[in-house]
């Protein structure tokens, strides 16, 4: 069975240390998959390898049937993969609206000269970009916060804005890096609905790294477990829950 994202023998070494060691898995199109494991298991490193932030040492990443290993990050984004960050990285001094508007840039085609001289295509497409940004804000319930500077937003809304910014690229695969980190149970519950909601609405595939076991088990249709950079297990929530190796890895590391 081949998925929208295929990872084969993926390895990343920093100096002599393998942060990710020969990991293979695939992500089913249209689903919500989870990537879990104790701290330092290599989860975020895998995101960085998929999105081209780090260079792959060995192995391949394929997306929708074509290889994207070691492409530049912006080209990977162009192919339809986008992400959020564990430590939120918004355009801090820009307003909520400007954050989203900036990310809509790939929906327009006008060139730099067209912008310099405000030619018709610039005017037309710019209007469309603005409408799109406003739409996204309203769908995601941020219209009221439109003019707030991103770094003045409450924490939970910053996480939400980062997701909206990612959606502005019309991605086919959305990578969420610990979206519930620092959230209270209420906010986490809301986030769950948000993630399932956007999957439906935007016809997305979602791959999520998360520490909240409860959230992962309820949200994800399939789960990959990492430990010390290697794949420990893979399966449905129930299979993972019953897997003694997973239990041991988590108990052994003193988490959850």
């Amino acid at each position: 069975m081949s998925g929208i994202l295929e990872i084969r023998g993926l390895t990343k070494r920093f100096g002599g240390l393998a942060a990710v060691d020969n990991v293979s898995f695939s992500v089913r199109e249209g689903g919500i998959s989870g990537l879990i494991g104790p701290n330092g298991a290599g989860k975020t490193t895998i995101f960085n390898l998929i999105t081209g932030v780090y260079k792959v040492t060995e192995g391949t990443v394929s997306f929708r049937g074509s290889e994207i290993t070691n492409l530049e990050p912006f080209r990977i984004a162009d192919r339809g993969i986008t992400r959020t960050f564990q430590n939120i990285r918004l355009f801090k001094n820009l307003s909520v609206y400007e954050n989203v508007l900036t990310a809509c840039h790939m929906s327009a085609r006008y060139t730099i000269p067209e912008a310099l001289f405000r030619l018709p295509r610039f005017v037309r497409e710019e209007k469309a970009l603005r409408a799109k940004a406003e739409d996204l804000l309203s769908i995601m319930g941020l219209t009221e916060r439109r003019d707030v500077q991103a770094n003045n937003l409450p924490y939970g809304l910053q996480r939400r804005l980062e997701i909206v910014r990612a959606l502005a690229l019309d991605p086919k695969l959305l990578l969420l890096d610990e979206p519930a980190a620092g959230m209270n149970p209420d906010e986490t519950e809301q986030l769950m609905h948000l993630i399932s909601g956007i999957r439906e609405r935007f016809k997305l595939t979602v791959l999520v790294i998360e520490h909240h076991m409860d959230l992962v088990m309820r949200l994800c249709e399939s789960i990959v477990v990492l430990n010390f950079g290697q794949k420990l297990a893979e399966g449905t929530a129930d299979e993972i829950r019953g897997d003694p190796r997973v239990v041991e890895a988590y108990l052994g590391s003193g988490e959850n």
Binding site: F14, F47, V53, F85
Partner: protein, 292 residues
């Protein structure tokens, strides 16, 4: 052959002064992660302190030397307190540090121009001009002393950093400032210490540079060479700074000797561009991937 050896020794001596500058600069870089462009201004003040110590106050050389180096250490600390500390407290981006440093450099240089005047002044002759002859090789006494004192200062610095508690604190902070603070190291004191050390080395460099050439307000511009040397060796690496400086000094002197002295200054930039193309992290620098 003799001519080559002659050029080599000249190069080593000027390279050792570059090293004093580059190490002071690299030291600050390793802790604060920004280019202290005000370092040149401190070096310039060192040259003037030494000059006035010898002429106006009529001090013996050793006393003038102490005055100059203590003075520059103090200036460096004051500079840190005024121009960088508020930025550190605010966790400002590194660009603000660089701009503040540029402002400080501009202030120091032009303050001296406005008060003392722009004209170069020669140091009083302290060290006899006639060279020491070793076989056919003629070693300038000043060059020899410059080399020995610089090497001595750098050796002391290495001992200090490797062998003392304070030195260990510097090493730890250079590795990771935040973690060091958590481990109970007073990073604020480390910063002051680093600026004091950098300032001291700047004073030594200033005095020797003034003795070799002259004192003038724009002496600090030659620190550009030490920045290049530090990049050459690998930014933030102290051994790299020394190696880069010595190499730069030797290459410059050889170019001036064998090609034309007009190309002497240009060669530094050619090296800079070469290094940036081939290996931007320099000889001893390590490549680091951005942590996402």
């Amino acid at each position: 052959m003799i001519q080559f050896l002659q050029q080599l020794t000249n190069g080593l001596s000027i390279g050792s002064v570059y090293a004093l500058m580059a190490v002071g600069y690299s030291l600050v870089y390793s802790i604060m992660n920004f280019s202290n462009f005000a370092h040149g201004g401190v070096i310039m003040l060192g040259a003037y302190f030494g000059f006035f110590g010898l002429t106006t106050f009529g001090l013996p050389f050793a006393a003038a030397f102490v005055l100059a180096t203590a003075g520059t250490a103090l200036v460096a600390i004051v500079l840190e307190r005024i121009a960088y500390k508020p930025l550190r407290d605010r966790k400002a981006p590194f660009l603000y540090f660089i701009i503040s440093a540029m402002g400080a450099s501009m202030f120091l240089e032009n303050f001296v121009i406005a008060t003392i005047g722009p004209n170069p002044k020669p140091y009083p002759p302290i060290i006899p001009r006639e060279p020491i002859a070793i076989g056919q090789l003629a070693l300038g006494r000043l060059d020899l002393i410059m080399f020995l004192v610089s090497a001595g200062c750098l050796a002391l610095l290495v001992l200090f950093i490797e062998r003392t508690r304070l030195g260990k604190a510097i090493q730890a902070s250079a590795y990771n400032m935040k973690a060091s603070a958590l481990m109970g190291i007073n990073t604020d004191s480390v910063v002051i210490l680093v600026f004091a050390l950098g300032g001291f080395l700047a004073g030594v460099a200033g005095v020797f540079y003034g003795m070799k050439y002259m004192v003038y307000p724009t002496i600090g511009n030659i620190t550009l060479k030490s920045f290049i040397a530090a990049v050459f060796g690998g930014l933030g690496s102290l051994p790299g700074a020394v190696l880069g400086s010595v190499l730069l000094g030797v290459i410059e002197t050889l170019v001036a000797g064998y090609l034309s002295s007009q190309y002497r200054d240009l060669i530094a930039f050619v090296i800079l561009i070469g290094v940036l193309i081939v290996r931007p992290t320099g000889i001893m620098g390590k490549t680091v991937e951005d942590k996402a």
